[in-house]
Symmetry: D3
């Protein structure tokens, strides 16, 4: 153990290795909080995956608080480790990952925030990095899809974990809110609905017309009944599409796909959801050769309990990193 | 003190439709809180199901707080929707439902509270409504059973979700407490034990004699081991009795049938309980042609976390409404 | 979307008296929650003061949650009583007061919310009622001032309790946020700065130029040092202006004028603030003959502890009602 | 430090010294929790002051939870020490004090609980001990007054700290509730109102008639305005009566005399109350030669925050012990 | 019901029966808190199983707080009952069990605490009792293993529930911390790795070398994937070893083997863990003829929610008592 | 506003200005959390005051958690501003301040942690910076005093805010714990007791001998009675010593000097303490020409409520920065 200034040196060292600060150099409760205790880096540096925060909750319809998610996830990710048991993968050996800070937002304007996210994420993509965005509410995903699709040059496949369909129409005269990004993404041609999939969907809904948009666009939604009604979780997983290298994929994980017992800290919780174990198994089963970017959204720390929701989010980010390793 | 009606209020709309206030007219966090954002109505109005609160916790043996359940459930039910996915049912189209306020109680007297509940619920039944009562501790169910049995003219079948048998003897010289209503209900001839069923029961118990009352009266109790030990949840559900139209049924749902991870906000939690998903599936499988009334009890908001217990209660009330639609 | 009246409901009683529901008819933890357990009324009815909520927090710069304040204040006001000890006044005898529900809002648009508030509050004023608005964040006050000034026909005097000056410039390209209403109110000619006063101000500030706006406009700000440095609290109170009948006054009470120990449940708390007792004494000392309307803002229930912040807000609303009685 | 079994030995040792278990023998977070870490004793043993709990909250009108106060106060009193700075008194040297466990109660019956308390406290008094009762709600004080008055043979002087007068009439047909003990005590001749005093009283009240009972019976009530309006706290203290040895006194301390910022964990908090420092000074100023017994009531742990209310209660109990030393 | 002093008498009575204080003598929220409301006893008395606390958290690497576990578990165990449903066993009839208080600790020294635990537990074993220790962090288990192995005269089999392997090397120059006891136990020859088993293990880990120690020593670790991937939970249980009478067993239960939804109150939670029901079934399936001692560790009350973690711990202790009955 | 990567650039820019990141560039809830949103710097850079964390709580005697204080204070300091109202000082214009990360610690060893702190703080001092350390428990102060005294070459004057004297003897065989640093500091000759002062001291104490150490060494302790009993707060402040430039001063602020209502989040709270306003006034009155270093200790986030304790700590750090400006 170096006796002095590890963390400062870690942040500034000329040869940093994009590796998490070890709990043996600095106990995990210590140090400035970055995602997974990774170094903070500038996009000009040479690494593979950028993680950043999008501290925005201006488009939620019930409980706010997701603006504090990036900060809380950074703190909780101090508990993170890098070796994946069932994949036999040390992800931070396989990938160079860095925290690049937060994308700025305008708390009272979805539209202005969209502009900021688009510019920010475009720069990340232009630097040839993949990325994970720690939101923020689910409205923000639309801006990511715009950037990623523009860079990819073709509609993306969306792998979407959520309790909600997020295809809802405008509300209160506002097109953009946290339950509408899928509708916009399809209408704007950002995603290819036929190769996309929604996982964790459950009711109650507002009405039977809620699924019409899905039906019109052949967007598959896997309800909890489909998942739990399958012969086994593995057989459900086997039913999910596999994505080849030429098909760019965006993974959007709304923490409310999880059951409220596992993720109380979210804005619009719905009983009867996934356990964290089921979520792990589904994520581990995904076959995605080109996962360009991902986000984790709707973590609301003021409603969390003992940080278990943030911890679940960290675990998802770890699984996503493992998925990203595949084709780099 | 006027015993009835002082808080039986209604929403003033010349053409009200017994339909929840839409989240698009008023965001769900806004407005005076009524059950499911329904109008408040007077019993003289024409609707099908009345929901009311019974804010009583004077008979609990451990953690109090259920007196605040009606208020908290009203607030949390703002998140409720009306369309049931797997039933393909818009329940508020199928049923006219209203909030009729709370039944008054006497916080320090079970007996006086029983009188108030009996008068209140009798009036509801006389107005030819079905009802859901949001308790309150489980002692209150006895008063409901008295009214409903009197109106039905024959013993009821009880469908009873609980971790506890609630057949316990008097305690501290008090016949009536939150663990004794089943014993009284059978002894008073209010329910028919042979066609009744208890779901979610688990130990530890005080002693092996705890199940004697059940055995004597042939009252079936389904333990967690029976439920989880079945070939599948569906096969367990198939084993439950079906109730024809001529058999009046009362459904009593003690939130502590759920596991503490799903329902921490209750007075006497017991590990190893149902998940909310299992509870949904069991409720959805019930075959009840004449569900006259129901209650949801033992939600204790001071011990809840992020309102997940109240949210589970709202979800149960939604399932109960769907069950009530059948024979109206 | 209907802009007005969908939630303007009333209690149905043929002879209602605009009097709080007694705790003896229904224990205070029971019943549908309205402000001070008052009847819900339509503006066409004959009463003096309307109380309504403005569940908006879309313009806060730090902790959100004020959208839940109207609901929480209604609940907590169940503990309210009507007799003022030192004034020897039974305020609900002296005034007919009703809850008129919430003004709808657009969670993600300050501007659209302003329109809704202006229409709503104008209707209230047109019905010849005074009012108290339970916010909501402090951005909402501007809309109230617009309506009240328009109705009064002359600039208002503002009595403003706050830790902050709220004269800050636009942020992130947005003119309207929760720290700017005073600047706009003066620039729009809504208030007369010279007869207005700010109470509870304290630092740290962003810079010494922060007070320039006050100085330019001769808007008095009473710092905690001025209040605590006075010979006595009474002598400070005596220094406050008295407002005659011809001078319409708006009182805006930001709960963060109180110390965080008394009001933890707020968005931008500042140590070193008023105690609830000091606040009571200052409110009781005010000489206002024509208090047209008032608001209480920045109560953030997700950050409250045991509802003490909401309780402080209820107490302030009671003092405001007493002030309103004067000239009706 | 003894290496083995200190605590067990402490409880059982033949020569225990009625002295708190030292934090040096067992860290303060360790050990079975008794009041002030004192030994548990039988009344037949030779000590001066008994402390016991009365875990009853069956007569509260708003937030319950005081049933958990004895347990929580025992735990928190682990932080207690015995030397009083300004009195220069080591109270556990001056007095032999023991924990005698809890008085049993009947959670759903005030009357049956009164019987239990009267029998219990009478036995304590018959064993020639003074006592402190850790309640419990304020209804329980009446039972104490009955026992103590019976033993004293003459009406007691009551020194009563409270936000409320507790002279309220029956509610919901129940004579006995947590806001009525003073009325009963005077009507039953248990206390002498003219030599009694109430400290910390504040509004709002239900009406101006609320103070009539006090006026009729010449029972002095010191409002917060009287306390804070005095030239100094010392001058207010000097105005309180002194009690000679021949006048038996009961001190009843309702934790809601304190401001909600200091005591959030109580059933019916009222803003504008005493600070803990003011309470200390008033208690230290009391001149009571014969303080026979005392209680501390209305601590509601489910509503406490970081145990600060329980800690305030422990501090009050320490001051009471110091007061009791005087005439033993 | 005895009217006076039940609890004091219970503690002191000459003929106490090592039976929990009944909830009918004293409601479960009342009384001085001991494990399962059992009498406090001296080791010289005649009973079978001693329960004691080890309030130590000086060796945790993330969230502390386990020092408060013994106190909180005592309180929560008030809800405990003695009859095991599926075993048809009244455990407190079958076993004489007592609370012997806490073992003292040195909060800032693992080594000194080890000495204290070893002396304490050795005395317990010398008195021919089995025991359950309520920790405390997981570092403390090593001291227990030393005592128990010394008494047994041969290496023990360890049945170890945990999310973590606890075979980690020294950290910060400290050999002893809460993630290293298994390594030391094997290196010191205290346990026989080949007959031991770890249950609930899951990642992420620090690296693939983390399992090397297990492999070298043939210590079986059952991951969540192994448990959930088995044909059924019963078939997994059947794969666990059976221990004959001549093989002394120590059971160490780290509460973080449970999922964070079931056990949020722990220091280093890991998503994807056991449910309380699964844990019950595994514990019930164990075949251990000679369970000498056990501990339950890593319950951290400051991070618990509504005491559900402590309640889970109580449930585990009840199952352990049932296991201990077998061979006494 | 720069649209991209403000924060990253802020951390890395070649010409950074040691100025907090503006809330207008990045809303205060966004960005990686550093003290006061200051840049992270290496000691080789040119600035005046270093702020760092010492995340250690291994020497507390009651509630742990202070290890999380640096992280929580960083987060809460996002609300900080730089302009001091009554001093008319923009502190970040007057001083160049930077966050230099955390000093590493050994969670289970006070002695090893002392070594780390001494080396760390010595390096800071050698780089000719003043510093503020955000602890951590109060044991850590001793290590600071060793470094600062060594660098100063003469005993320091200690200005010590605390509820406790911290002169207590060894406990459990451990010389170093969180209540002993003053004793060691005097015994080691690190501070000059005659020119030092303790502020906020209150009882109860363990015994009258507790103040003997102070008396022997002529170390002044100002009790709450002295502070509140003074003619005015200003007159008390005037009684405090003034320190000339040749007298190096260390200021140690234990957050428990504040009342538990203002600082619930601490390990050993004591009722009857300072308000945040009183603390501000005392800090503002201090006359210290050479404040070399300071620490703020005993903030325990797991016990905080709505971050008010952390917020009070941030406010103290702001006052300390203002004090440090004087002689640079």
């Amino acid at each position: 153990m170096t006796l002095f200034g590890q963390y400062v040196i870690h942040l500034y060292m000329s040869d940093h290795k994009f590796f998490p600060l070890s709990g043996r150099e600095m106990p995990r409760f210590g140090g400035i909080k970055t995602f997974f205790r990774l170094p903070v880096a500038n996009l000009s540096e040479d690494f593979d995956v950028a993680i950043f925060g999008v501290p925005f909750d201006g488009a939620v319809s019930y409980r706010p608080g997701a603006r504090f998610a990036p900060s809380k996830i950074r703190e909780t990710s101090s508990l993170g480790r890098g070796y994946h048991f069932s994949r036999n993968l040390s992800v931070f050996d396989a990938l160079k990952v860095a925290d690049i800070g937060d994308c700025s937002v305008v708390p009272m304007s979805v539209e202005k925030t969209y502009e900021l996210i688009e510019k920010f994420s475009t720069k990340v993509l232009e630097s040839k990095k993949k990325y994970i965005s720690a939101g923020g509410d689910h409205s923000t995903t639309l801006a990511h899809l715009r950037s990623v699709k523009a860079k990819a040059g073709k509609p993306l496949s969306l792998v979407h974990f959520d309790a909600h369909l997020d295809t809802y129409p405008a509300a209160w005269g506002c097109e953009y809110h946290h339950g509408a990004f899928v509708r916009h993404a399809i209408n704007e041609g950002l995603i290819d609905p036929k190769s996309s999939v929604q996982i964790g969907i459950r009711g109650p809904l507002a009405g039977d017309s809620d699924v019409n948009f899905n039906k019109e666009h052949s967007l598959r939604y896997c309800t909890m009944d489909e998942i739990r009604g399958a012969t086994s979780l593995a057989s459900f997983c086997a039913s999910l599409p596999a994505y080849e290298k030429d098909q760019p994929v965006f993974l959007s994980y709304d923490i409310d796909c999880l059951d409220p017992s596992c993720a109380p800290g979210t804005g619009t919780p719905v009983p009867g959801g996934l356990t964290t174990y089921e979520s792990q198994k589904i994520l581990q089963s995904l076959k995605i050769e080109n996962l360009v970017a991902a986000d984790i959204v709707e973590v609301s720390p003021p409603y969390d309990q003992s940080d278990i929701t943030a911890l679940a989010a960290v675990d998802v980010m770890f699984e996503i990193l493992c998925l990203m390793r595949k084709n780099i």
